[in-house]
């Protein structure tokens, strides 16, 4: 298998309270150095709660946000400058809110034509043929092309968003919460469509979501983010079934499952991002935390086989 995507110590911090001259008042580490590898044709699920840095990570991967450190390699090619146009032919992005990601004053045809024109240089008949092909791929009727975004339901708009992301024939799709704005019955349609497209076009997916069950259903491997750092990664069937990091366990217990009593109701919240603790960010909420957890940040290490966790006291299966 070949590597589709690899990041090395990819990190991003934001300056808070920037002044006209001089250093900023504070610095917020949205994403701490993260190294991930995604194989060709694989789906990597990325889960985490709000504020864990998953959206910033996604936006760095497609070049919308410049990383403050680290590198991104796609199919062995180093992409070091944040330029969405350079990234666009290799990696594309599907937005969470399908309706607000479509310009309300453009027709669907104009929206789909943009990446084809600017990234692939298609014109005239070639362009029309490709648009028709894309529209068929996401199973929408071609008479929708001359309509405006507000005429579509969420599920249809998300299909259009997927068609746009596929337009430039990228190798990788970053799906940032692609179904969380949709109703459950429509959600399943879109997830199945994504699975079909992946099989047909040989795509690689990075599937970001806060919904553990959805991530588990679509992913080969899962990475868990907490407070801007990777705390656990491993095969999808193992991560939530036998979590090694206490945070992953808390997540798995908190998810409402039919027939399981209320659980995981553990108090505590994220640490203050402007004043992060020196050790493990989860130590404040962790039942197993000891002295070393509050002092030293644990590094990500292999626990068993392909399952990695950043914890001083990993859980037994």
């Amino acid at each position: 298998m070949t590597l589709a995507l690899q990041t090395r110590d990819l990190a991003r911090s934001f300056d808070i309270g920037r002044r006209l001259i001089g250093p900023p008042r504070a610095r917020l580490h949205a994403v701490r150095p993260i190294s991930i590898q995604v194989q060709q044709g694989e789906t990597l699920g990325i889960v985490g709660e709000s504020g864990c840095g998953k959206s910033t990570l996604a936006r760095m991967l497609v070049g919308l946000v410049a990383p403050s450190a680290g590198s991104i390699e796609i199919e062995g090619r180093l992409l070091d400058r944040a330029d969405p146009a350079a990234f666009g032919r290799l990696i594309q992005y599907v937005f969470q809110d399908p309706v607000s990601s479509l310009n309300p004053r453009k027709t669907i045809r104009q929206i789909l034509a943009a990446p084809l024109r600017h990234l692939r240089g298609l014109r005239g008949r070639e362009l029309d043929a490709r648009i028709a092909e894309l529209f068929a791929a996401v199973s929408l009727r071609s008479d929708f092309l001359s309509r405006y975004p507000h005429e579509f339901s969420g599920g249809q708009a998300q299909r259009i968003g997927i068609a746009r992301a596929l337009a430039a024939s990228p190798r990788i799709l970053v799906l940032d919460e692609p179904v969380s704005a949709l109703d459950v019955s429509v959600q399943a349609q879109v997830l199945n469509l994504l699975a079909d497209l992946k099989a047909k076009l040989g795509l690689t997916y990075l599937f970001i979501s806060h919904d553990l069950a959805v991530v588990e259903a679509v992913s080969d491997r899962i990475a868990v983010l907490y407070f801007g750092a990777l705390v656990e990664s491993g095969p999808a069937h193992k991560v939530f079934a036998t979590p090694r990091h206490p945070y992953t366990k808390l997540l798995a217990l908190s998810a409402p499952v039919v027939g399981r009593p209320l659980g995981g109701a553990q108090s505590g919240e994220l640490p203050d991002p402007l004043n992060p603790p020196p050790g493990c960010a989860f130590a404040g909420r962790c039942p197993h935390a000891t002295e070393i957890c509050r002092r030293e940040m644990p590094a990500l290490r292999a626990i068993e086989g392909d399952q990695h966790a950043a914890c001083h006291h990993p859980l037994a299966p």
Partner: protein, 620 residues
């Protein structure tokens, strides 16, 4: 465009302004070919002729020039200068605003501080200074007026642009390989143009006044050229002896500015998307009720909804959001109401206390009985006494339900004093106790916090505390955990469950999540297309759903621990409630549907397990 004109003329005043301005503009355009005296022809023998004199309808001025002719030529000039200044200021200001808003950062900072400096001068002083530097003359007055107005446009447009730049479709355009110039031109600008047009249409009148002001001071048009301002200026010395020389140009200025402003307001209203769907109106304090007869009371219970019907009437369309929903809530019971968006679950909940916004909402039938007393059509005072006191609500987004400018302790105290005759100090003490009850750490200090200082989970706890403030019997929770993270959701659900057991609360819990329902609710009702399609004890219903919709909805939700798999999607879309099919609303998506399903009304059958289906999956 037709819609725009329709909306514009729906506003009578704007239509009047458009007609008046139209007449004035047409006359001004036609001035050179109208049979008028030359405007600058002096005849001192005939000075100060009164209006309606022979050959001079509006009389003459101090040099015996025909006022009618000067008025028309002056109007022509003033209008041209006003429009030109507005256009110039609008374009220059919009360009600055769009660039500053789009690029942000340093560029924004520097240009906006420059604009601020321009704004720091009183506008007339600034205009005078510009004219003083450039020298008097109509062109220079135009430049002065335009420059003075640039900041208004720049600030306005910058704000709008900054809002658009952070929208996702701009990121999408960037990912489509577009450069900055192209994004500005084809993505940002089309969304800013309506704002520019609105700003221009509301400021043209102002510009005409300002140029007239400069001409009045002798800094604009130079004699003998006439514009409305200079006519006024020249007539000033004869204000008492020959008032018509001032009244004529003055009245014209009044007409122009008034019609421009009326039209401008109309244009703004017609272009504003918020006002497009109809005239903005404040919702009434309770939902409007148009009910023929109330259904007979059957059994008593804490809260009984009986064949409740709520509609939204927008234009000619009628959205039947709730179609005969019957529900029963006993003391201490938690009932889940589950459904997708548009199924009518939230409208059902809001109808209970008459909280559906009217217009467009109307309750058209059914009854809601609290302890046997019908609340539909109850007087506002009675509903107000019950809202929060006996039936309290918890909403989805605590950030938008808490007032951003008041401390949460004060907001809680207000909720208490609204129903109970307690003093300020006592109410505050209770507020702190309530925060403690919902497990907010350090409640005394947190009571002094503003909503934005709390995390989402903490805010929702405040929302729950507020619902508990008056010890209600019933809490209606409308997706209270949907906006929260899973770990926080688990905390909030555990809290709700504990409170309900310790206080004997009845909860109507609205959600779209079967997992949450199964963990919290005793009974559950499933809604589709404004109707309850299935109802029953939670465990039974989830284990063996009888309605095909329930079964397939459960099947298409992935469940943790299920592993990687293909989901069983339901093809098609939920029905539009303004166009419900006869019979079962799910029939078009249902594989078990037969002709009988599409024929007529299907009853909700059963005693404990109820199902609205002719061919149920299991016989309950």
């Amino acid at each position: 465009m037709r819609l725009f004109l329709q909306l514009l003329f729906r506003n009578r005043l704007a239509g009047f302004g458009a007609v008046v301005l139209g007449v004035i503009v047409v006359l001004a355009v036609l001035t050179p070919i109208l049979p008028l005296h030359p405007p600058n022809e002096t005849n001192t023998a005939n000075r100060f002729l009164r209006p309606l004199s022979e050959g001079h309808w509006l009389g003459t001025d101090h040099l015996g020039r025909d006022l009618m002719s000067r008025l028309m030529w002056g109007t022509r000039l003033s209008l041209a200068v006003g429009f030109a200044a507005a256009l110039f200021a609008g374009l220059a200001g919009a360009a600055i605003g769009v660039l500053a808003g789009y690029f942000g950062g340093r560029i924004d900072n520097v240009t906006m501080r420059g604009i601020d400096m321009l704004m720091a001068f009183p506008y007339i002083l600034l205009a005078l200074a510009i004219v003083a530097v450039l020298g008097p003359g109509l062109m220079n007055a135009l430049i002065a007026v335009a420059v003075v107005n640039i900041p208004f446009f720049a600030r306005n447009i910058r704000g709008v642009t900054a809002g658009i730049v952070h929208r996702e479709f701009v990121d999408a355009a960037r990912l489509s390989g577009m450069g900055n110039a192209r994004i500005l031109w084809s993505e940002v600008l089309p969304n800013v143009v309506p704002v520019i047009v609105i700003a221009m249409s509301t400021t043209i009148g102002w510009m005409i006044l300002e140029t007239a002001g400069l001409s009045f001071l002798g800094l604009g048009s130079q004699p003998p050229q006439a514009d409305l301002g200079s006519m006024l200026g020249e007539a000033r010395s004869a204000l008492i002896t020959a008032p018509h020389t001032s009244i004529v140009p003055g009245a014209m200025i009044l007409l122009i500015v008034m019609s421009v402003n009326l039209l401008g307001d109309g244009v703004r209203d017609a272009l504003d998307p918020r006002l497009r769907s109809g005239a903005p109106s404040r919702p009434e304090a309770t939902t409007r009720v148009e009910r023929a007869t109330a259904p007979e009371a059957t059994e008593s219970g804490l809260l009984r909804l009986d064949r409740l019907e709520t509609q939204f009437r927008i234009g000619k369309r009628v959205y039947r959001a709730v179609n005969g929903v019957s529900l029963n809530l006993s003391p201490g019971e938690c009932v889940g109401l589950i459904g997708e968006s548009g199924s009518g679950k939230s409208v059902t909940a809001l109808s209970v206390m008459g909280l559906v916004a009217s217009p467009p909402g109307v309750i058209t039938g059914g009854a809601v009985r609290l302890d046997g007393q019908d609340l539909i059509g109850a007087p506002y005072e009675m509903l107000r006494a019950l809202r929060g006191r006996r039936v309290a609500y918890i909403f989805q987004d605590p950030l938008s339900t808490l007032h951003p400018l008041y401390r949460i302790g004060d907001q809680l105290a207000e909720a208490i004093t609204a129903h109970q005759p307690v003093g300020r100090a006592a109410a505050r003490a209770r507020a702190v106790r309530l925060l403690e009850d919902v497990r907010i750490p350090n409640p005394a200090a947190r009571a002094r916090a503003f909503p934005h200082e709390l995390s989402g989970g903490m805010r929702q706890r405040v929302g729950i505390a507020m619902a508990l403030a008056n010890d209600p019997d019933i809490i209606i929770a409308d997706e209270p955990t949907t906006a929260l993270d899973v770990t926080v959701q688990a905390q909030v659900l555990a809290l709700l469950d504990e409170l309900r057991r310790s206080r004997g609360l009845a909860i109507l819990f609205i959600t779209h999540d079967f997992g949450v329902v199964s963990q919290l609710c005793d009974r559950v009702a499933v809604m589709y297309g404004g109707r309850v399609v299935e109802e029953g004890p939670t465990t039974d219903l989830l284990a063996a759903p009888a309605h095909p919709y329930t079964r397939r909805l459960i099947a298409c939700v992935p469940e943790l621990g299920g592993g990687r798999r293909r989901l069983a999607a339901i093809p098609g879309l939920p029905p539009a409630v303004d166009d419900l099919p006869p019979g079962c609303a799910f029939a078009p998506r249902c594989e078990r549907a037969q002709d009988a399903c599409r024929a007529g009304e299907i009853a909700l059958a059963g005693k404990v397990r109820k199902v609205r289906c002719l061919f149920p999956e299991t016989t309950p």
